[in-house]
Symmetry: C2
Subunit: 340 residues, 2 copies
DNA sequence: GATTTTTTGATTTACGTACATCAAATTTGG
DNA sequence: CCAAATTTGATGTACGTAAATCAAAAAATC
């Protein structure tokens, strides 16, 4: 049977109340006594029964998700996953609130963070906008002992406890290798469709993509990036224009707005064979993968990201360890054969 | 605040004891009264606080893992993950025991299952050997209300509650498409290295592989399968022999024993370019992927499988729902750029 | 050495559920 | 309608921890 507080009290030769004071870092314990208790805890291998403690405390975990107000399938999916998590709240003792902030607006994000520092949630998950002000605000909150995880887009160099998202440089590199290998000996040009180069994840994907292509597939040249602003209409126009260039043999779509891309491809590619890699599995990209308009889809599992963020925040709030391997968000590669 | 048993008692106009009798299906409650209580439960949306219940019951979850006594890296990894889970047992209230049975021995497996039916663990996770006797034994246990999940290798057609493993047909299909696309216009022969065709997962991978290759890459012919019995030495010999055939352009290794394969490839392929797809990420295959001996690795995450099996068994034991998406084991595709 | 301050002990209640006991009420059978 | 059987209520204890209160003991201060 695992030891309880009573066993600790007995072993340390102190009362239950003192053990409680030590465990919950309450004042009024002499240094030597505190050490006696801590030794007993270590020797008996005591671990607090979190379930019983939460029951006694009537604890809930108030969590806040800060998301950009972007209208694309990925963000919709992320929102849906958060709603699913809210449905599980009673069982998980969470109390989840979502705050939307204008996209790409560091100032707005910072002011939300500052507001939260007064409200005292027990954890914050945020899609980070990469700016010095944001980094400073996050660091300040972390120092005030707020658990913070970044979601989907990281804030490198900050003190955030964890990042629940994929390695976007690796994603770009993977896309490049897949495209390069699929094209084999063919030479030609590659069109890259991004949302905006202001977004860190898009920049990173591009960075990974270009470096592998340059190093290992010198016969493939990257055309100037098309910034489709994650808007299907814009993407459609840009891709249609680009495909006028007969030298294009492949397309890498590293952002959202794939609906427009797919439409453009279907109109143009009746007579030519293009190799296409896109990000994010949605009903549209899935259909395009199945009908061979797209050759591979790279994806991050929004559900996993949300569940992972919640698990990590709860663990940090309780000062517990996380299972690193479980919280690693992988880059999913889908061909038409391994779709979920 | 979520409702408690007291609220149910008040709402149904009965005593706490009666609510308890209904909740824990104890006898001595008239039909009408039981319905009153059940209505109140439904109307108030009562959900039992599993943590508090487990505390009161002093409940632990005795789980059994049944594994084949196979000496290959994947099974070693699986074992290691189970040991990790054992370390987490105190916090998760699990009590995990592992039983090894001779591989490919339905009779041994059945007798272990029969023994377990007396011992009453609250859940069983098993690497299934695909045989009618095993299926019958599993079905019998399921009817006796034992939660059972199959692990790594499924028992199709049985009543098992869940399968914690990858779709091996999809894995084979994916391997075929990757190989076909990587080879592009090249024609030639493909060597397939398997462990044993007696193992269901290997048969399924081969099935998926051959069907996609036949349908979509008619220029690639599959040579007779090499059965390496997951033994590096045997694999080395078989592959070395096969590579005498100058027409071979690709290799698909769908089982274990990759150490022998890799050695054979390094010896032979100085002068030729082979495209190689292998299963299971191990230190050896990882190194081979990085030095371009292997082009892609398909993998199943043993850690995820073990954790998932435990979550599902606990949920089934408590009659709770599982998060389907969370328990889906994906086929990981690793190129050298997205290694974990 | 008396007084104040700090530290410790003893005890109680609570969280939400499980489970046991015994008495009281109700229903059923004859 | 009475006795027997069944159903229900009332109550208490337990699980492991948190948190509060008040008294007692020890240490520090003057």
């Amino acid at each position: 049977m695992r030891p309880t507080v009573h066993d600790i009290a007995a072993a340390a030769g102190v009362s239950l109340a003192t053990v409680d004071r030590v465990l919950n870092q309450r004042p009024g314990v002499r240094h030597v006594t505190r050490e006696k208790v801590e030794n007993a805890i270590r020797e008996l291998g005591y671990i607090r029964d979190v379930a019983a403690a939460n029951l006694a405390k009537g604890r809930t975990y108030p969590l806040v998700f800060i998301l950009p107000a972007s209208d694309n399938s990925f963000m919709h999916g992320l929102n849906a996953e958060i709603r699913q998590a809210v449905l599980r709240s009673p069982a998980e003792r969470t109390d989840i609130r979502t705050i939307e902030v204008p996209a790409f607006d560091p100032t707005a994000l910072v002011s939300v963070l500052e507001e939260l520092s007064r409200e005292k949630p027990c954890g914050i998950a945020m899609v980070a906008t990469d700016a010095p002000d944001v980094r400073a605000a996050v660091d300040r909150l972390v120092r005030e002992r707020f658990p913070i995880v970044t979601l989907v887009s990281d804030l490198t160099g900050s003190l955030r406890h964890h990042y629940a998202g994929v390695d976007n440089i690796a994603a770009g590199r993977t896309a490049a290798r897949l495209l390069g290998r699929f094209l084999g000996p063919r030479k030609g040009e590659i069109a890259v469709l991004a949302g905006s180069m202001l977004v860190r994840d898009h920049r990173e994907r591009l960075e990974g993509f270009t470096s592998v292509l340059a190093e290992e597939f010198p016969d493939l040249a990257i055309l100037p990036v098309l910034e489709g602003r994650d808007d299907p209409e814009v993407a459609h126009r840009l891709v249609t224009d680009a495909l006028g260039n007969a030298g294009i043999v492949g397309v890498y779509s590293l952002g959202a707005g794939n609906r427009g891309l797919i439409r453009a491809l279907k109109e143009k590619s009746v007579d030519r064979t293009l190799t296409v890699i896109a990000h994010e599995l949605t009903p549209h990209t899935r259909a395009a993968l199945l009908d061979n308009t797209i050759d591979a889809i790279l994806n991050q599992d929004a559900g996993h990201e949300v569940r992972s963020a919640i698990r990590v925040l709860k663990a940090k709030a309780d000062g517990l360890a996380v299972i690193e391997a479980q919280e690693r968000i992988r880059l999913d590669i889908f061909l038409k054969d391994n779709l979920p």
